[in-house]
């Protein structure tokens, strides 16, 4: 077939560009191949990921009794049952996890949100702001164990050598949380329409009240759900807490003094104890694999907490989503 407009440029023989049967077939083949590969990559990834969840669930659910959730590990000896018929539990670790995580939230959320406020509302891309956002990026690359080393050395220098307590863990975790909090808050503040700020200013509202009552309030759902996700991430940190907060078998409610066990540390500690000794004089209920049972059960609780936080984050952002009617 020939193009008609000979006067206006080259004549094109479109047959030369006509796809051959084989090229069409090749394209179809490639398309199908990629579809298969993409589907396959999904299936391949599914195997380990589902395995992780399934193993944690199936192995963890065995020891996940009410007793396990309401007792700590004090007085638990090896694989022997305790007077209440359980085999010790994670109450102290749950309390420790909550307190240390709460501590890190108390440190990092105000600082992170205020830092984002500075970046979005005050700095207008100045030198300091550029430096800060670069540093926030750098901070998000701090390896968790380095954060632990930092908290440990800081408390050693500031409070006294050998200081190991919940607060040190909180400091380490807040270091890991801060960049996420800053980034999500920054993003959320940035999408608050300028219209709203102007509307408030036009009413004669001061900048601070505009920011707190309008901007932050509007961005709140996003900030909250972003922060919850950040919490879900640090709540599973192990290495820094091993160094900064130590391990203890009893419940220590005091964040500011004394060692504190968290769930991940508990999991790791149980794992690293291997088999329990059930000697000839041991209780008939003595379980040699009690450590692994406790490790998996605690891991399951940890996953459940993370899951809960995730759902909570989604819920918060959905319920308080701005712009929805009713």
């Amino acid at each position: 077939m020939m193009a008609s407009r000979t006067d206006r440029g080259p004549v094109i023989d479109f047959d030369r560009f006509r796809p051959t049967r084989s090229s069409i077939r090749a394209r179809k083949r490639k398309d199908r191949l990629m579809t298969v590969l993409i589907g396959l990559s999904f299936l391949v990834a599914l195997i380990p990921l589902v395995s992780v969840l399934w193993v944690s669930l199936s192995k963890g659910v065995r020891r996940l009794t009410p007793d396990f959730l309401t007792h700590n590990m004090s007085g638990v000896v090896g694989g022997n049952p305790t007077p209440t018929g359980g085999y010790g539990g994670i109450l102290h670790a749950v309390i420790g996890t909550l307190e240390i995580t709460f501590g890190s939230m108390v440190i990092s959320i105000p600082v992170g949100v205020m830092c984002a406020v500075y970046l979005v509302e005050y700095a207008h891309g100045g030198r300091l702001a550029k430096a800060i956002s670069l540093m926030v990026d750098v901070m998000s690359g701090i390896p968790s164990i380095v954060a632990g080393l930092f908290a440990f050395s800081m408390f050693a220098l500031v409070v006294g050598p050998g200081t190991v307590n919940g607060l040190a863990g909180s400091v380490a975790l807040s270091l890991l949380m801060l960049p996420t909090v800053v980034k999500t808050s920054e993003d959320m503040l940035a999408v608050v329409p300028n219209d709203l700020r102007e509307a408030a200013y036009a009413l004669g509202v001061t900048k601070q009240r505009t920011i707190t009552s309008i901007v932050l309030r509007t961005a709140l759902p996003g900030i909250v759900s972003g922060t919850i996700l950040a919490v879900a991430r640090v709540i599973g940190e192990t290495a820094p807490l091993l160094i900064a907060s130590g391990f203890i078998a009893t419940t220590n409610p005091n964040l500011f003094s004394g060692r504190m066990t968290t769930l991940p540390v508990f999991v790791y500690n149980e794992y690293s104890q291997g088999l329990a000794v059930c000697g000839p004089s041991a209780d008939p209920g003595c379980l040699t694999d009690i450590h692994m049972q406790r490790a998996w059960a605690a891991a399951l609780v940890l996953i459940l907490i993370v899951l809960l936080l995730n759902l909570l984050g989604r819920l918060v952002s959905r319920i308080f989503a701005v712009g929805r009617t009713h």
Binding site: Y118, Y122, I145, Q208, L302
Partner: protein, 317 residues
């Protein structure tokens, strides 16, 4: 202007609060700088003894930490850096194509209902603590994968990467990289997906209207759009893998060499896992050394972050 005296007073107070608030915000920003400076400073202070003082006792400390395998800081930290980068790099190599595949699957192939479900699961998995991946790797994967590595070594053993003897049990670099890949997979997937599904509809329709197949549409209109985002997602995953401690600690049989033989045991160790392994028994000189290696790790992740920033900045421009 109509002004009642009490109104002037409240306005006055509001202005003061205004100033204080601004100071707080600025302070918080500066605090971030200070925090990072403090991290660096404390680490340097703590690492300082490793480089000062009696050279003999320094050498002694390094020999003691390395079981006599190294006698200088560089000789000690070199293989650790190599191992860290090797393992994290491998993990990224394994996870990246699969993540991309899943992200595309979620965004462009799966039916809507399935893809929201998958997204939720991926987000959950991205938050699963690494100690659980470690537990899973050590107790479930290691005993079950030895056979596969052996098969690989038999058939591909002529490539040095896969040469034997295959570690049994498989506490090798390959297994650890695999676990880290599984660990960072949801993270990369989740970020990549968020970016890919934002690929402009317009260009996708343009591609299809030209008679493109689905894959061609993705190649023409989706991947070019997501390129910088995909890179920064991978860098996020790489950063996570570089700093990962527990999974490596619980699985890898460490060594201090520059070996690329992935299936063999005791070839490499990562900085983070090494710190966690040696810290409990280290004396003060040893702690200084370990903190110094931590500083090196910090610098590596800094460089990775910086490069990622540069790449995305360039691609975004």
């Amino acid at each position: 202007m109509s002004e009642k005296p009490d109104e002037t007073a409240t306005l006055h107070q509001a202005k003061r609060v205004d100033r204080i608030f601004k100071a707080c915000a600025t302070g918080a920003g500066i605090l971030i700088l200070l925090a990072l400076a403090a991290v660096t400073l404390f680490l340097i202070l703590r690492a300082f003894p490793a480089f000062t003082g009696d050279p003999d006792s320094r050498t002694q400390a390094i020999r003691s930490l390395s079981g006599g395998r190294a006698s200088s800081f560089l000789g000690y930290v070199g293989p650790l850096v190599f191992g860290t980068i090797l393992i994290a790099g491998l993990a990224l190599l394994l996870a990246f194509p699969v993540s991309l595949g899943i992200a595309l699957f979620i965004g462009y192939y799966a039916p809507a209902r399935l893809s929201t479900l998958l997204s939720t699961v991926i987000d959950l998995l991205a938050a699963v603590p690494s100690v659980i991946y470690g537990l899973w790797g050590a107790l479930v994967l290691v005993p079950n994968i030895t056979g596969f590595w052996r098969w690989l070594s038999v058939h591909l053993g002529w490539i040095p990467l896969f040469s034997g003897p295959v570690a049994a049990p498989a506490r090798s670099v390959a297994t650890v990289a695999l676990v880290l890949a599984v660990m960072i997979l949801p993270i990369i997937t989740s970020v990549t997906r968020d970016i890919l599904i934002q690929a402009p509809r317009l260009q996708q329709e343009a591609a299809l209207a030209l008679g493109a197949t689905k894959w061609e549409m993705i190649r023409l209109a989706v991947l070019p759009f997501g390129r910088s985002g995909i890179i920064s997602a991978s860098m996020l995953g790489l950063g996570r893998a570089l700093g990962e401690t527990m999974a490596v600690l619980m699985i890898l049989s460490p060594g201090l060499s520059y070996s690329l033989r992935l299936l063999q045991a005791s070839t490499s160790q990562t900085i983070a896992a090494n710190i966690a392994a040696q810290f409990p028994e280290a004396d003060s000189q040893g702690v200084a050394l370990l903190v110094a290696t931590g500083l090196v790790l910090f610098i590596i992740t800094f460089i990775v972050n910086y490069l990622a920033r540069r790449i995305t900045a360039k691609a975004g421009a």
